[in-house]
């Protein structure tokens, strides 16, 4: 496995079924990420509880991949070729991690419905519907139906370029990441936050591949903190607005998926939340939609 992440960024993805993959899974050496945070991950101490590690890693990797897809799907207008590929591949038949959340079921329901509706290929009309929907929800002009920036939901002033934005930007900088955008836009876009989470997850996997326990711990801590400080406080509400206002099953489904993924990840990392993650009302919405 690559020791330098930047040189071959997605080697492990290309190697998803390879034996070295299995190797790092067995070497990860922790029961669960929460416990792992406090453990000394010495590379020379492969532990015995392989079954549980396997589950954990599969779950972790699955969440990372979903975050990566959400990043691409939510940051930027619909990419026709990419989406066509998703439909052709039957991506939305399932999610790559285990979950009994009603959100995930609702997501699969919406996404499956959308996939079926475009089964023969993403036609001009269907693609225009996606672009229009994305524009209305997240681009404008004017009042947005579901502004895709954290500070609009998490900050009491509900504006953009707030302290949340700087905090998120600084999170990226601490991991030597910046925005690809050529103009001044807030770092706390929903898609970018998912991209960051996916990046950290990928780095965790790579760090464990080279048995860098200190780095794994740092990355796991970062993911837990970023989820708790940033994604968890706002994505559920944001997803609610998208579900309410989206015209297409794709964006409705992606919103359910975003919400479900954040909640699942929070539970996975045992993120302490000051507020209940969900109210019953919305969960019921998810169930009835499902």
């Amino acid at each position: 496995m690559p020791a330098t992440y930047r040189g071959t960024p997605f080697a492990f993805l290309r190697d998803a079924t390879g034996s070295s993959k299995m190797q790092w899974r067995m070497n990860l050496g922790a029961h669960a990420p929460n416990a792992m945070a406090g453990m000394n991950l010495e590379p020379h101490r492969p532990e015995a509880k392989r079954g549980r590690n396997m589950d954990w890693v599969v779950q972790f990797e699955g969440q990372m991949l979903v975050c990566g897809v959400l990043a691409k799907a939510l940051y930027g207008a619909p990419d026709r070729e990419w989406m066509d590929g998703l439909v052709a591949a039957g991506l939305f038949d399932s999610v790559p991690f285990g979950s009994d959340l009603p959100e995930i079921a609702a997501a699969l329901d919406c996404l499956g419905r959308w996939s079926n509706s475009v089964e023969g290929g993403l036609g001009d009309e269907a693609f225009a519907a996606l672009t229009d929907d994305y524009t209305r929800l997240f681009v404008g002009p004017g009042r947005l139906l579901a502004a895709p920036w954290e500070s609009v939901y998490a900050n009491k002033d509900r504006a953009v370029f707030q302290k949340e934005t700087v905090s998120v930007r600084n999170w990226y900088l601490r991991f030597e990441l910046g925005l690809t955008s050529e103009y001044n836009e807030p770092a706390d876009h929903i898609g970018l936050e998912f991209a960051f989470l996916a990046e950290l997850a990928q780095r965790t996997i790579e760090a464990s591949d080279i048995r860098d326990g200190r780095e794994v711990k740092r990355l796991i801590d970062a993911q837990r903190a970023f989820l708790g400080q940033h994604l968890l406080p706002w994505v559920p509400r944001w997803a609610g607005d998208v579900v309410e206002h989206a015209r297409t099953d794709l964006y409705r489904g992606l919103a359910w998926l975003a919400r479900g993924t954040v909640i699942e990840a929070a539970s996975f990392f045992s993120v302490a939340s000051e507020q209940p993650v969900r109210s019953g009302a919305f969960q019921r919405t998810a169930q009835t939609q499902h």
């Binding site: 997605f10 993805l13 290309r14 998803a16 991949l65 990566g68 990043a71 691409k72 940051y75 207008a77 070729e81 990419w82 066509d84 590929g85 998703l86 052709a88 591949a89 038949d93 399932s94 999610v95 790559p96 229009d132 524009t135 209305r136 681009v139 404008g140 002009p141 004017g142 009042r143 579901a146 502004a147 002033d157 509900r158 504006a159 953009v160 370029f161 302290k163 700087v166 990226y172 900088l173 991991f175 030597e176 990441l177 910046g178 690809t180 103009y183 001044n184 876009h189 898609g191 970018l192 991209a195 960051f196 996916a198 997850a201 559920p236 509400r237 607005d241 206002h245 109210s279 919305f282």
Partner: protein
């Protein structure tokens, strides 16, 4: 199509991994940042205060500062550069200024160039404007579309076909250089005061110095509300006068917060009836005056300094019957305009009218302080002459502690400017040392400048939309001028929303071949456009220099980086120039940074002698190097750095200094040696120039003296039979005041302002009860021109028969029913001009009924973002 390399029916991990791979990796939108360490350490958690402009045109001026931490505007501050005192007050910000941060960082600002989905060259389903989907596009595509349409329309129809109504001098630079465009003329704000200032001798600025004013003993606050409309120092001067024992009388349909703060008595009168009240007062004084036993009239001033009051003092060639005294006494037509006559119209009891006249006449130091609002009335062309006559006959011109003051734009503080710089609200020429770019279509007036009076190539503001729809407008001599407008370019203001007959405006915008709007927000102009260009606010540019009131000079700096993809008006002009084959150096002769530094260098302040000026700032060679600009070192009062850092300079003032000012003092003392800029050299109560101007335009005919003309849609028009006093279909009056939530259309979309200040329809319980309307109900307001829904505030603060719908709220038209849910006052107002082509916003008639449909949602719910829903948490 099938994406290569993404085979079906693999396990989910493989599928999703492939999807991520196809997306280019997990970190879509992020990249490696080599400067991460420096960037992370750059903020250091330490913020700084930056002087931040507030330019929305309320007519007042506060000083705002923004505290910026790590590039984030954390909070707002105001003037703390001097110790606050009565003599030298801080220039404090108002609630609107304090909301700039959240307004400019609202999620609803325009972020990217957008085009209407079904737009195509020549229009493309024009009827969909306002309903169509939008498509985000690049700046290149947007500018290509704009330049393409400009070229096509110019080649096919000529420059006249391009309508760019008051787009501002910066945005107009490229358009002017491209051969010009059709512009507008006419006063939005000042009503009929504008021609009066130009032609009667009662000029501008005309307020006395504030140190003089605070010694005034009696104030008639007449149709004015600076606490709401021009918050800041204007009311502060009044507070000092009140502290000194002055008596305040309010004359207004609405007992507003300014009156709550200051006044001893409220005399309610109906909108548009000020003229009748004044005539009743003049009549009272004429019949009660006795130079020996009961001196009420300053005949000496009238005889020496005015023309038109009586038959003995008329301008040369005037009809002897055209004098105010004979008209008021009814000598020619048998109808005296006495207090009883006036009371029938204005609603104040005759005895109160006589009381007010005597009070004003007997007080040695009295001031009438009024506003543009009283003159934003149909047919009110000679109302200013009536005010002038009343002030003159009661002896209150040219005397200490006495005056007629109109508009609170300069903080109830008059006299020559003690500081010289741009007025930040004026959108004046952008490169002050360069000659202005002329507009060839409009007789080479400055492209994008404000045009007061009728002029070739300019359409009256009332007729902009009808000119588009009907193909003609009223020319300089009242003639019908054909015009074929094919394109509308908006770059300043809010024409659809803020000009009369918004529904007609929407129709006009759906008729032309192309509409473009460059703005910060999705205002009504932008909604009905094909192309929307996001522009930076002044916080995102290299600053600006401007005057505050009379005594403050301000230098605002750049506060933040441009919001999303927003670009400056000037940059847009340069990019357009490149595409139109114009030398960009004409549009931008030098950089904005250089321009601002030039303005700093050119800023002048008055010396203690009260006559001469000196530069404000000292500039050294090091300064020029530090600011990276060209210039010449100079000696001034303070360093460049001090001015930049503080952002404000106050002229030192104290009572008795050389900056005192009493308007018309020299004229009063010796009118022959100090003639006014009028045909007669005197104050003109008989003003032929105004009569000529109005009668030439031909919308209505007037006499040269202030004879009362009932407004087209005033109180009289609420009756189907005025003689029998039988009410008609629209029995209530409505007028549109300035609300605290906003300055015209500005600020209205800010959630914080919506939470703080409601936008309610205001009516009296006496009118509400018989209609079954209770406080808080949703009501339907119908005028001859349109229908609006609003929540009602039922209150005795408004006189019976009169209602209020504040101006500036954005239209939200339900096209099925034709009902506006946004509370836009201009949906109710027709666009037929009267007189000199001002806008008669405050003369309007309506009927109101309780709305039986779904109640209106609160304005907070329809603010710039969707309200948070707990159910989604």
């Amino acid at each position: 199509m099938n994406a290569p390399g993404m085979p079906r029916a693999r396990n989910p991990i493989e599928l999703w991994a492939a999807a991520v791979r196809q997306a280019g990796g997990v970190g879509f939108g992020l990249k490696k940042e080599p400067r991460a360490r420096q960037l992370l350490g750059s903020g250091g958690g330490k913020g700084k205060w930056i002087a931040a402009d507030c330019w929305p045109d309320c007519g007042s001026k506060g000083f705002n500062k923004a505290y910026v931490e790590d590039g984030v505007v954390v909070r707002m501050g105001t003037d703390d550069t001097i110790e606050d005192s009565w003599n030298k007050p801080q220039l404090r910000a108002c609630a609107r200024g304090q909301s700039l941060r959240l307004w400019l960082l609202g999620a609803d600002r325009l972020k990217y160039p957008m085009k209407r989905k079904h737009w195509e060259p020549g229009g493309g389903k024009k009827e969909l404007r306002g309903k169509d989907e939008w498509v985000r596009i690049s700046w290149d595509e947007a500018l290509d579309i704009l330049a393409g349409e400009l070229k096509r329309i110019k080649q096919s129809y000529g420059n006249e076909a391009i309508l760019a109504p008051w787009v501002g001098a910066i945005a107009a630079r490229a358009l002017g250089a491209y051969g010009g465009f059709t512009d507008q003329w006419g006063a939005h704000s000042t009503g009929t005061w504008l021609p009066a200032h130009l032609h009667t001798g009662f000029g501008y600025p005309h307020w006395n110095d504030r140190f003089d004013m605070v010694e005034t003993k009696l104030f008639l606050l007449w149709g004015t509300n600076p606490v709401w409309s021009q918050a800041g120092l204007p009311a502060y001067t009044y507070m000092q006068a009140k502290r000194n024992g002055a008596r305040f009388i309010a004359i207004d349909p609405f007992y507003n917060p300014t009156y709550e703060m200051l006044t001893d008595e409220w005399m309610p009168i109906r909108p548009g009836t000020d003229h009748a009240l004044i005539l009743g007062m003049i009549h009272t004084l004429l019949v009660e005056d006795d130079p020996a036993a009961n001196k009420l009239i300053d005949w000496d001033f009238l005889n020496r300094c005015t023309v038109g009051f009586d038959a003995e003092h008329l301008p040369e060639g005037a009809d002897p019957r055209d004098n105010l005294k004979d008209y008021v006494l009814g000598l020619n037509d048998g109808q005296p305009r006495d207090a009883e006559w006036a009371a029938q119209i204005c609603g104040a009891p005759p005895e109160r009218i006589r009381w007010l006249a005597r009070l004003l006449a007997k007080e040695e130091h009295a001031a009438i302080c009024t506003s543009g609002g009283v003159a934003r009335i149909d047919n009110a062309d000679t109302l200013p002459q009536a005010f002038i006559a009343l002030t003159a006959m009661t002896g209150h011109f040219g005397k200490p502690h006495s005056q007629l003051g109109v508009h609170h734009h300069f903080g109830t503080n008059g006299g020559p400017q003690l500081v010289q710089g741009q007025n930040s609200r004026s959108y004046a020429n952008s490169h002050l040392r360069a000659p202005p770019i002329p507009n060839p279509v409009c007789d080479d007036m400055m492209a994008g400048g404000f045009q007061h009076t009728s002029r070739k190539g300019c359409i009256n503001i009332n007729e902009i939309n009808t000119a588009v729809l009907n193909g003609h407008y009223t020319g300089v001599d009242g003639e019908k001028v054909p015009i074929d407008l094919r394109m509308i370019y908006h770059a300043h203001g809010s024409r659809v929303n803020q000009l009369p007959n918004t529904v007609e405006g929407i129709r006009a915008h759906r008729k032309v071949e192309f509409v473009v709007t460059q703005n910060m927000f999705m205002n009504a102009d932008a909604i009905y456009s094909d192309l929307v260009l996001p522009v930076t606010s002044r916080w995102e540019r290299d600053g600006n220099v401007c005057i505050g009131y009379r005594e403050q000079l301000l230098w605002h700096s750049k506060v933040m980086e441009p919001y999303f993809e927003c670009r400056d008006d000037l940059w847009i002009g340069v990019e357009l120039a490149k595409r139109l084959g114009i030398d960009p150096a004409i549009v931008e002769p030098w950089s904005w940074k250089q321009e601002i530094f030039n303005q700093v260098a050119d800023a002048r302040v008055m010396n203690e002698d009260g006559k001469t000026f000196e530069p404000l700032v000292t500039i050294t060679k090091d300064d020029l190097a530090a600011f990276d600009v060209e210039g010449v070192p100079q000696q001034g009062r303070i360093t460049v750095e001090e001015f930049r850092e503080k952002g404000i300079y106050h002229i030192p003032r104290e009572p008795g200094d050389n900056h005192g000012f009493v308007y018309l003092k020299e004229f009063r003392e010796d009118p022959d040696a100090n003639p006014l800029a009028t045909r007669s050299g005197k104050l003109e109560i008989h003003c032929q120039a105004i009569a000529d101007l109005v009668n030439r335009l031909g919308w209505s005919q007037i006499r040269p003296i202030p004879a009362y003309v009932p407004p087209m849609e005033g109180y009289e028009a609420t009756f189907s039979d005025w003689e029998q006093r039988i009410k008609g279909d629209y029995p209530l009056q409505v007028y549109n005041i300035h609300m605290p939530r906003r300055a015209h259309n500005f600020f209205d979309n800010a959630t914080v302002m919506r939470e703080l200040f409601p936008h309610e329809y205001i009516m009296n319980p006496i009118d509400a009860a018989p209609r079954g309307i209770a406080n808080g109900d949703t009501v339907l307001i119908r005028s001859p021109w349109g229908k609006v829904l609003r929540t009602v505030w039922v209150t005795p603060h408004i006189m019976p028969g009169v209602t209020i719908l504040g101006q500036g709220s954005r239209v939200d038209l339900d096209e099925e029913t034709g009902i506006d849910r946004g509370g836009c006052a201009n949906v109710l107002k027709g666009s037929k001009p009267t007189g000199g082509g001002h806008i008669g916003w405050n003369s309007l008639i309506v009927e109101v009924e309780k709305w039986t449909g779904a109640p209106l949602r609160s304005d907070v719910e329809t603010a710039h973002v969707i309200p948070l829903k707990d159910a989604y948490a």
